[in-house]
Each structure stands twice: as C-alpha cells, then as structure tokens.
C-alpha cells in the first residue's frame, strides 16, 4: 500500500469514527436516563432517594396551589393519579405555571415527605396554536423527549 493510500484510508476511517460518534449521540436513547424524571409513585417507592437530587414529574393537582407571591414561594401537590407528593417551592415558578398543568421539579425529598425544590419547569406542549384554533391533539405526553 502506498503512503498516499494509507493516508487516505486513515482519513476515511477517522471520518467514519467521527460520524459514528455523532450518530450515536443523536440516535441512541442514552439521553433518556438523563431526561428521566420520577413519578410520585416511583419516588415514594425509591427509599434511597432521600438524599440525592432527583427530578419529580407529574400534574399539579387542581385546588392545591398556594402561591405566596410576596414571599416568593409556592406550595402545591404533584400527582400521577395514584400517589401524590407535597412540594414546597422557593423562588417563583414560571408564568405559565398553573393548576392542572404538567410540571417537573428538581430537588430533594425531605425526611418529612415534603419535596423541596427551587426549580420548577412547566411542560407546556410544543404546539403553537391560535386561541380559537383546533384543540391540541398531542398533549398526552408530559415530557416529549
């Protein structure tokens, strides 16, 4: 094999590796572990989760939102239908936050069973709709990716 051929072969092989790496990052589902959040049932089931920072996702139970805007804190309950977890949030939730919306909170579950967080993320769907437009069809998933 000539030197030039070797060089070309190396170039092609390197590009293949680079392409495979990008493809792997884009296509594999390894991000799922990281985007993952626990539902209240799973959080309650996982005893070892008392100290580590975890994410909890679910619906803000209607009628439980107690929002003290001056003190910049809110209390509400996250539910998945079966179980619910009371959440104490310091810092204001985003504006679109409301009862009945999907939300994910990041923080720690205290020994008293209250989940403390300073990060509330509202999961509104990615649809952009006119107000009197068609009803949204794909609002079933809480977190799309």
């Amino acid at each position: 094999m000539t030197e030039a051929m070797k060089r070309r072969l190396f170039g092609v092989a390197a590009l293949a590796v680079a392409g495979a790496a990008l493809f792997y990052v884009g296509m594999s589902d390894m991000g799922d572990d990281l985007v993952y959040y626990w539902t209240p049932s799973e959080l309650i089931a996982a005893a070892e989760a008392k100290e580590a920072t975890v994410r909890l996702g679910g619906m803000v139970k209607p009628g439980t939102l107690d929002w003290d805007r001056d003190a910049q804190q809110a209390r509400f309950t996250i539910t998945d239908g079966d179980h619910e977890v009371p959440v104490h949030c310091t810092g204001n939730p985003p504006q679109m936050f409301r009862e009945g919306i999907g939300a994910v909170v990041e923080g720690k579950l205290g020994t008293d069973g209250v989940f403390r967080t300073d990060r509330v993320m509202v999961k509104h769907s990615n649809e952009y709709e006119a107000p009197d437009g068609h009803p949204p069809e794909v609002q079933t998933t809480l977190v799309d990716e």
Partner: protein, 223 residues
C-alpha cells in the same frame, strides 16, 4: 505510524520526566484553584455541591497552561520547521503529543482528587472505577482539541488569550459530562445517570481524537 506515535510519546514523556517541574506546577495550579473557589464559596454545604464542578474547572484551567507550553520547547529551539521536515508523520506527532498531554492531565487529576475529598468534605459513594473512567476520558477530551489548537495558537499573535477562547467553547460538552458524571459518582446515583454521561464523554473523545488527527496533518503542512 503507530511506531512513530510511540516514539513521539516516549520523547514527550522523557522530557516531562527529566523536568518534573511542569507536572508539579500544574498540580499546584489546580490546587490553588480548589482553594480559591473554596474561599469564594458562600457555605460549606455549597462547597460540597460544587466539588465536582470545581475539580473540572481547575483541570480545564490547568490544561490551558499545559497546552500553552506543549510546543514551548519546539518554539524555543526553532524546531517547528524541523518537525515538519522531519520524516515523521504529522499525525504521529499529534497522537504522541496528545497522549502525553492526556497522561499529564490525568496524573494531575488523580493527584487532586484526594485533596478534593479532604477540602470539600465529599465522600465517594459510587464506583471508584467509574470515577477513574471520568477522569481519564475527561482529560483525554481536553487534550485532543487542546493539542491541535496548541499548535495553532503557539504561532499566532496573542496566543495566551486565543487558546482559551478557541478551546473553552469547544470542550463544553466534555467538561459538562465530566463534571456531571463525577458529581453523580461522588453523590451517589439513584437515577442511574452515570453511564449516559460516560457514553457522551466517550462519543466526544471519539469525535475529537479522530477528527483532530486528520486536521493536524493539514495544519502542520502550513506551518
């Protein structure tokens, strides 16, 4: 080419070994950053939370000092041209130097970790092998693009600013994955996220180690 790579690597390591001041200099540089961040930190609880991130910021800053000097010896002796005229494949030069830089950084990292445990009051809850994996892959991820840009900026004006400016944004994924992964190993990993960060780090390394090797040859022709 593999034999040449090993030759370059051996030469680089020999230089490091003869003049051990660079390794110890980098180590104390990293240590100084750990100390300074501790002074800047509001509380000891916060210190514990940011331990992994601080380690990697320290290593990142230390890496720019290391890579700045990766070509200092060649520059001092006007050996840049000799390196091109030398009958050695430029890719071998790149891989030799990059592996040497990875080893150098990993050594510093392994030296800093016990101090991190002591000073930042963290303990190892996860797998020590996984921690080693993050250290090695993280340092390798810094070294590959760093060695490439080290050659570029060594010959440009204002190189001490230019190298971080080019390198930092490029290695964001590497630093992010390494810091997050290290944090997960230290704190315990109930949601099992360590593997994903390790995989991302692996992909970053695959991308940059392969691509930089090709591009280095192209740059070396023009120097």
């Amino acid at each position: 080419m593999i034999a040449q790579t090993i030759g370059v690597l051996a030469k680089e390591l020999l230089i490091e070994w003869r003049d051990r001041s660079r390794v110890s200099g980098l180590f104390f540089f990293g240590l100084a950053i750990l100390l300074m961040v501790a002074f800047a930190s509001p509380s000891e609880g916060a210190l514990r939370d940011q331990a992994a991130g601080t380690l990697w910021v320290g290593l990142l800053l230390a890496s720019t000092r290391a890579l700045d000097q990766a070509y200092a010896i060649e520059m001092e002796h006007d050996a840049m041209e000799a390196m091109v005229l030398w009958p050695v494949d430029p890719r071998a030069v790149f891989y030799g130097k990059a592996i040497a830089n990875s080893l150098l950084l990993t050594t510093v990292a392994i030296g800093l970790v016990p101090l991190l445990f002591a000073m930042y009051d963290v303990q190892l809850r996860g797998d020590p092998l996984m921690l080693l994996g993050f250290l090695v892959l993280g340092c390798a991820g810094l070294a590959a693009p760093g060695t490439l840009y080290g050659l570029v900026t060594a010959q440009a004006r204002g190189s001490s600013v230019l190298l971080p400016l080019l390198l930092f944004p490029l290695v964001v994924p590497c630093i992010l994955a390494a810091a997050k992964g290290t944090g997960v190993v230290l704190e315990g990993d109930p949601m099992g996220q360590g593997d994903s960060w390790l995989a991302l780090l692996g992909a970053f390394n695959a991308l940059h180690w392969s691509l930089s090797g090709v591009l280095y040859g192209r740059i070396a022709e023009d120097t």
